[in-house]
């Protein structure tokens, strides 16, 4: 892994080509269309009363903004309280540091197998590659994650990782890759196969990894949200549990959790609650006299706090809102672009609208400047976002940052101005010249209308799926003048 390109994703610069490929894949489009319609309907059913939804969103936004305003203090409070409970807290500035910390913990325990609960942050750091490079197997245990890992793929959605796959594809995959399994399209049987394989692994794993949905500073509690029970397995069965999270996930009070949790599950999958809400407050208790000794749970618990570009977003008042995100995925479920191109086309850990606004901070604008342009600015993402992140505004802001110098008084972003090109500058300079000189503008209009027969029938990207642009026979000014003459 080179220091400059720690992430092994396809470069985001190839984003456009991949979107073209994705939109012409009928199966993929059907998978996403169906899944997104399903998720949108399920979410809508959870919020029958708009006034109540808006009240909940306002509180959720307030909680996130309150927490972010106190972020450094809350992180220290969290660290203090977790440490007092026997949890070891680590800090990592980037993906390599986080991976090195986790590999180090695993090596101290001579670990051979790590089971993983769902953690997008560990996808962000490409932890699995680092573990494998150190000779330690890292097995995804969320059913969707297990399926995509088995097929050597990446998740295509942050909540439903295997959403791009049909059950037939999964049936073929299992028959091919899981020893002793024959082809079956029964979803119950397929889940049963995954269950059998993974329970065996939970039993033998040396170390379990998880993400964190909310970290509560005042009590030193790590909260995990899940339906399957694999998160509980990973955080309870192995002797060592490592949790990894972005530094933004902390809230001050336990009472701040219910409104966020309630909106998270309803926005994500249209569920009022998940099967499990797992609140972790430390390793298994020894019990001084042996009497109060707990009989299970990890003997060691670690928390890795990851920056990876988050402090860059934090430094800007407007872009700080990006860190309000609770990773519900509603913005992608409602995004007309995501629905058509799917999650893989983005080439980043976080796809869809949230990916478009967070990835530039994690990977730099040079690699990601195409992403904020993948929006029609219809506003659906901002409307459904449970914590009211003004996503369209942030998209416009990032488009600007990608093509301009940093604003006065602002530190440049990583990759600031990366999308700027001499051609684009020249086009805009020409446009400005034309539109600020009336004589020139009139001459241009006259020429464009009189010589419209010269318009090329194919106009690069535009005519791939649209009819060619052709100037009208007369300019608007001429047409208006004509009309005025007739009415007088």
């Amino acid at each position: 892994m080179s220091a400059q390109h720690p992430l092994q994703f396809v470069p985001a610069a190839e984003f456009k080509q991949r979107s073209v490929d994705a939109t012409s894949d009928a199966h993929l489009r059907q998978s996403f269309r169906g899944a997104m319609d399903f998720l949108m309907a399920k979410r809508a059913a959870q919020f029958p009363d708009d006034a109540s939804l808006q009240r909940q969103r306002a509180i959720a936004e307030a909680i996130r903004q309150y927490s972010l305003a106190r972020l450094p203090d809350l992180l220290e409070q969290l660290e203090r309280n977790l440490t007092a409970k026997g949890v070891q807290v680590h800090w990592a500035e980037n993906a390599e540091e986080a991976n090195a910390i986790i590999v180090g913990i695993a090596q101290r325990h001579s670990a051979k197998l790590m089971v993983k609960g769902k953690s997008m942050v560990s996808e962000e750091t490409e932890l699995n590659h680092a573990m494998e490079a150190a000779g330690i197997a890292a097995l995804e245990s969320d059913m969707g994650e297990y399926i995509v890992q088995l097929d050597g793929e990446k998740p295509s959605h942050i909540i439903m990782p295997a959403i791009h796959k049909t059950k037939q594809q999964i049936a073929r995959l299992f028959a091919e890759k899981v020893p002793g399994v024959s082809y079956t399209e029964s979803v119950d049987e397929l889940i049963g196969i995954g269950r059998a394989v993974l329970r065996e692994k939970f039993m033998h794993a040396d170390i379990g990894l998880s993400g964190v949905n909310f970290a509560v500073a005042e009590t030193g509690t790590l909260c995990l949200v899940e339906n399957e029970g694999n998160g509980r397995m990973c955080t309870t069965v192995p002797d060592v549990h490592v949790a990894i999270t972005g530094i933004e996930k902390v809230v001050e009070k336990l009472e701040h959790v219910p409104p966020l949790y309630g909106l998270l599950t309803r926005s994500a999958t249209g569920q009022a609650i998940t099967t499990y809400f797992n609140m972790i407050g430390g390793p298994r208790k020894g019990g001084a006299d042996g009497k109060g000794a707990e009989l299970d749970g990890p003997k060691e618990v670690h928390l890795v706090l990851l920056d990876n570009g988050r402090t860059q977003a934090y430094a800007d008042e407007q872009m700080r809102a990006t860190l309000q995100c609770i990773r519900c995925g509603a913005c992608m479920n409602h995004c007309p672009v995501y629905t058509r191109i799917g999650g893989h086309a983005y080439g980043t850990t976080y796809p869809g609208p949230i990916g478009e606004i967070i990835s530039p901070h994690m990977m730099g604008l040079a690699a990601t400047h195409a992403l904020p342009t993948a929006s029609s600015l219809c506003g659906a993402c901002g409307e459904v976002c449970p914590v009211k992140i003004p996503i369209p505004d942030l998209l416009i802001r990032l488009r600007g940052e990608a093509t301009h110098e940093a604003r006065p008084g602002h530190a440049p972003l990583v990759g600031q101005g990366a999308a700027r090109s001499a051609l684009m500058d020249a086009v805009w300079a020409g446009w400005a010249a034309l539109y600020t000189r009336p004589a020139l503008y009139r001459a241009f209009g006259w020429l464009a209308t009189r010589f419209r027969f010269l318009t090329p029938p194919t106009q690069s990207g535009w005519t791939v799926s649209r009819t060619p642009l052709k100037p009208a026979a007369r300019t608007l000014r001429e047409q208006l003048a004509e009309r005025r003459r007739k009415t007088h």
Binding site: Y66, E228, T275
Partner: protein, 241 residues
């Protein structure tokens, strides 16, 4: 990674955040007001009914039981479900009642998990736990595992039986945590692992098709103990006689 490098990662991250943290801090959000506005104010019976309906929605089975008869009900349920081994806590408050009920295959979780992991995973049909309470709004059990009732009892066996006192059903999660003071004294009363459980384990990761028993229990059976209803029923019985 040397300790030093790690200390400086911490200092650098906190330094960047401190340099950028806004001067004016927003006021604390009024979570209490939100829940006060949403409060249902229904009767005890309505709250219990709401819990039962929600739990059923998650495919949890709710079985009404009596204070004297719940172990008999449990024995019958075990027989009906073909449970050959039922796990209970090593020093649970219900130990003697369970032992007296004559449930075949009753066994205690009496050793650290490392000493019998294989048996727990492969030869334990059901687990029995108590509960701390429940949440009506979402059909959720509140379970606080401890030394007497370890964490894995409600996760590894394919069937989970949970005894719930109907007097301990709260309206919402927020009500439960504030009424019981979960965060009082910096959350010192919270166990190392506190759980909310709503139904059996499930997944919709294959083509949005719901399947139960993903990794945890395939069945969740709530034994609902409602003393008030019992008293009322007994009174009615006596009146008739």
């Amino acid at each position: 990674m040397s300790a030093n490098a790690n200390v400086s990662a911490r200092e650098r991250i906190l330094g960047r955040l401190r340099a950028a943290a806004p001067q004016s801090k927003p006021a604390a959000p009024d979570v209490h007001a939100l829940y006060a506005a949403m409060r249902k104010d229904d009767s005890r019976a309505e709250r219990i009914a709401r819990f039962c309906a929600q739990m059923a929605f998650w495919r949890g089975e709710v079985v009404p039981v009596t204070a004297d008869g719940w172990t008999d009900t449990l024995r019958e349920l075990c027989a009906a479900k073909g449970v050959a081994s039922l796990l209970h806590g090593p020093r649970g408050v219900h130990d003697s009642a369970l032992a007296a009920a004559g449930i075949p295959g009753l066994k205690a979780y009496d050793r650290p998990v490392g000493e019998w992991k294989q048996e727990l995973f492969e030869a334990t049909d059901a687990g029995f736990t108590s509960t701390r309470g429940a949440i009506a709004e979402t059909g959720t059990l509140i379970i606080w595992p401890d030394a007497a009732e370890p964490r894995l009892m409600s996760l590894v066996p394919p069937i989970h039986f949970a005894l719930l006192d109907a007097d301990c059903i709260h309206d919402t999660l927020f009500d439960a945590m504030t009424a019981e003071g979960w965060s009082a004294d910096g959350g010192r009363s919270l166990p190392t692992n506190a759980l909310l459980i709503s139904g059996p384990s499930k997944t919709a990761d294959i083509q949005q098709t719901l399947a139960y028993g993903a990794h945890g229990p395939k069945e969740l059976v709530v034994l609902l103990l409602d003393k008030t209803r019992e008293t009322a029923a007994n009174a009615a019985e006596e009146n008739r006689q």
